[in-house]
Amino acid sequence: MIKKALNICILFICTLLLFACEGNKDKETSELVYKTEFPTDSPGLEEFIKNYITSDLAYHLVTEDHINVYAEKNLGSQQKTIEYVQFSDEQLTQFYDRLFESENTKTDFTNLRKSNESLFQPVDDKEVYHLPEITLEKGNVFNIKTSINEKRFKLSDILNEYEVHENDKIMFNVVAVDEDNFQIDVQVKRKEDSSKSDMSIFMTQDLQNTFVSETYTDEFPKNIVKGNLKLYENLFVKLDSEGRYMKAANSFGIADTVENELKAISESDYLSKDNQYVYLDGNENPLAEDKQRIQKIEDYLAENDEYIVEFDLNFKQIADVLDLNSVNDVSIGKVNYFNEDIIVLFLEFKAAITGTAGSTNVIVDFQENRENPTFYLVDLGLH
């Protein structure tokens, strides 16, 4: 019995020593700025919260005179129409104002999303924003009405290349609109073999011109180069000043109109919400520590070494600031949100031997100092 107890003690002491030795790996890093409170309001924060509140519910179509207009997101084939909703910038700031006084940021932040439907109001006048009224009728027929025209489209006709039938399941969404055109994304699930296809239907507001293309395969750049999508180019996101790289709304495929090929962001990298920046290795989980690098999309696609932002990520310092008894490493480290002004991360810290030492979100704010951002360590419940 005494021998057994002695063995346990020896093992435990050895473990302690080993742990103590391994815990002394200090890292040399520059002086980083940490705050353990929710940041004050700023354009970057507003953009982040707007995305957080709306992304599961709606597609952003247009913002005019501080009014944000969205198409509600259809999630399944049982939804047969598109609802348009809106809110003003002022309504948005009032909606999330409670966060700045909050004593429980995580709960209040989560509740923002849970109650997001109360922010959205129906669009009063669809014609002002050129919003097409679309209904999917029996037999997979689109009934589309714009301020200029009204017309019915049999999907088995306009999508005949994709073998769409009258009894297939159709999920559709309006993802881009301007005064001349609009884009409807369609997902077809065939009744016959349950196979699926995704494509985009581009239409002019007078409903006289229609073109169908996939936007995430080589079909997209080919159609641009051929001029098939010329009419609808204003709907696309231009990724560089020369207009060489273009991307359709709600798609990850980038058309290189010079090389006539589809470019994609590498699986390990992360494209910003505004499509203008790439966080190198930002899609890795866990994120690597130390130097983080961000490129403008045109530099990224040109494969050069120009970095618009470089900053340090130091797990040990973050764990120390939060007083987490961690081994200074993370088991989960991922990007929740990335845009020009703000990056939001989720970190779950490892404890010794097994389990977690705790977790946090990190709001990396570049707005005051791009070279030396401020790290807000605050649990928002994002993971």
């Binding site: 346990i8 093992l11 435990f12 473990t15 302690l16 080993l18 742990f19 391994e22 815990g23 957080y52 992304s55 599961d56 519910l57 259809n74 999630l75 399944g76 084939s77 049982q78 939804q79 989560t110 999303r113 849970k114 399941k169 999920m171 997902q187 699930k189 349950s194 699926k196 296809s197 995704d198 995430y216 395969t217 989980n285 008894n325 961690s326 081994v327 490493d329 088991s331 989960i332 779950e348 490892k350 404890a351 010794a352 031997i353 097994t354 389990g355 977690t356 030492a357 977790s359 419940g381 993971h383």
Partner: protein, 478 residues
């Protein structure tokens, strides 16, 4: 000769009548014993309270409130007598001695006894709580069974009835479900639904769509109302992945099994059509096996990695030295969850509270013990366990050795797999003691080394293990 001031006995008599009433209303022998011994110490005559009720009614806060009132009565009495004494212009020696005796009798005798009575009530409260804790789990199981039976007989469906293939992910000791959520997303396929419930009861839903090999999972979680709009939910052709986070991170496997059962009944998933595939890490494997022992008809497979099926020396050490485990390793062996195992070896006492948790369990019981009991007590259930596909995967640390190669003139590195993952031996992870009950025993070289960054911490998100999850899900899809 000194005689106690009669006013003390007058008040004690009033209190005794009230105390006898309390004892009669509780019908508890323990309570009667406590009051009787106190009144005996107070030397206030015999305590008359018969207890005959069938049900024990024990309300410690009411009793404490009554005793506090009695203490207050004596404090008021003493104040009044002291005030009376101060009004005497020229008190005699006898007057002075009377007030001193009264003060001594009340403060050091009566009030002391009353405070001790409160302490005895506290101990009885702990005893009752410990007894209730021991019977809570059987009651919970019985309630679950009644609920399930009621739902079956009345054809009551839950919100998720209709999903025939369900994966449940159970994390291990000192952990959350977040890593399993990451792996479930990786392993999920087209048409699947993922539900992640954290230990505070918040549930998030995600749907999976795959087109041309590209997987799309919603970035922000859906509410249940939004989930109901999706084809994945309405068709119910895909797999439902439930990432389950235990209410207490170090709760005993039996509590997890009881809670998980309740959750699955509520979701409408404990029925003949639904088959459950369990995936678990570390102690989560013991939790999953417990659930499978409790409900073998509903479990199709169990897949574990890093699971200590045998007793675990690190847990035993932490259980023995909880302070060190907490201060140096951020572990909490004293966390209790209102569960108490009947096996006295699988218990610990903290602040008088008996409880059982992951540490007491891994210190005292190998899973083989319960399996052997099941084999004798319920051979039919044991047979179902034998028919179940159980995969006990082992994660392994690796050690890199360097040696100088004289022929090549350079230092060469050799990577040799260890016999453990930094926390659990490969032998224990394989469940070798469970013999043929385990059908497959694959192993994975997982990144990590040493105590601070062991392979054990990386097993859930290891690519090999995720591939295994995907494989099991695919093989078992009906």
């Amino acid at each position: 000769m000194y005689q106690r001031n009669p006013i003390i006995d007058q008040i004690l008599n009033i209190h005794k009548v009230q105390a006898e009433g309390i004892v009669r209303s509780t019908s508890s022998k323990l309570v009667k014993k406590a009051f009787t011994s106190s009144w005996s110490n107070l030397n206030n005559g015999s305590f008359q309270a018969s207890i005959s009720g069938q049900t024990i009614m024990f309300n410690p806060s009411d009793m404490e409130g009554m005793i506090n009132k009695w203490i207050h009565d004596f404090e008021i009495c003493l104040e009044a007598e002291e005030a009376k004494f101060k009004r005497i212009e020229d008190p005699t020696f006898s007057d002075k001695m009377d007030i001193i005796h009264l003060k001594t009798d009340i403060e050091q005798y009566v009030l002391y006894e009353y405070r001790d009575l409160k302490r005895k009530i506290g101990i009885i409260d702990t005893k009752f709580a410990n007894a209730a804790r021991a019977y809570r789990s059987p009651l919970h199981q019985a309630l679950n069974d009644i609920n399930q039976l009621y739902n079956d007989m009345n054809n009551i469906d839950g919100d998720f009835t209709g999903f025939e293939n369900v994966s449940v992910y159970v994390h291990g000791i000192e952990d959350t479900g977040k890593k399993f959520f990451e792996s479930a997303v990786e392993a999920a396929e087209d048409g699947d639904v993922i539900a992640y419930e954290d230990r505070h009861g918040n549930i998030e839903y995600y749907v999976v769509s795959v087109d041309k090999g590209i997987k799309d999972v919603n970035e922000e979680p859906l509410t249940f109302e939004r989930l109901k709009q999706t084809d994945q939910y309405n068709d119910k052709n895909g797999r439902l992945h439930i990432v389950y986070e235990t209410e207490y991170k170090n709760e005993h496997r039996q509590k997890t099994s009881d809670d998980l059962t309740e959750k699955l009944i509520e979701m409408g998933l404990l029925n003949d059509e639904t088959k459950i595939d369990l995936f678990a890490h570390s102690y989560g494997g013991r939790r999953s096996l417990q659930f499978a022992m409790d409900y073998p008809d509903h479990v199709r497979s169990i897949t574990t990695i890093g699971t200590p099926y045998d007793k675990n020396i690190l847990s035993r050490t932490a259980n023995t030295f909880p302070g060190i485990a907490k201060d140096f390793f951020n572990k909490n062996p004293t966390e209790y969850s209102n569960y108490l195992d009947f096996n006295s070896k699988n218990q610990r006492t903290d602040d008088g509270i008996l409880h059982s948790n992951v540490y007491t369990d891994m210190k005292s019981e190998a899973m083989l013990e319960d399996i052997e009991h099941l084999k004798v007590a319920n051979p039919e259930a044991y047979q179902k366990l034998e028919e179940m596909e159980i995969t006990a995967a082992a994660g392994r640390d690796t050690t890199t050795y360097k040696s100088y190669n004289e022929f090549k003139g350079e230092v060469e590195e050799f990577v040799v797999p260890d016999t453990h993952d930094g926390a659990v031996s490969v032998k224990s992870q394989y469940g070798e003691s469970l013999g043929e009950l385990i059908d497959n025993r694959p192993s994975y070289d997982v990144k990590g080394e040493g105590i601070s960054n062991p392979a054990h911490s990386h097993e859930i998100t290891d690519e090999g293990f995720i591939h295994l999850i995907r494989q099991v899900n695919s093989d078992h899809k009906e």
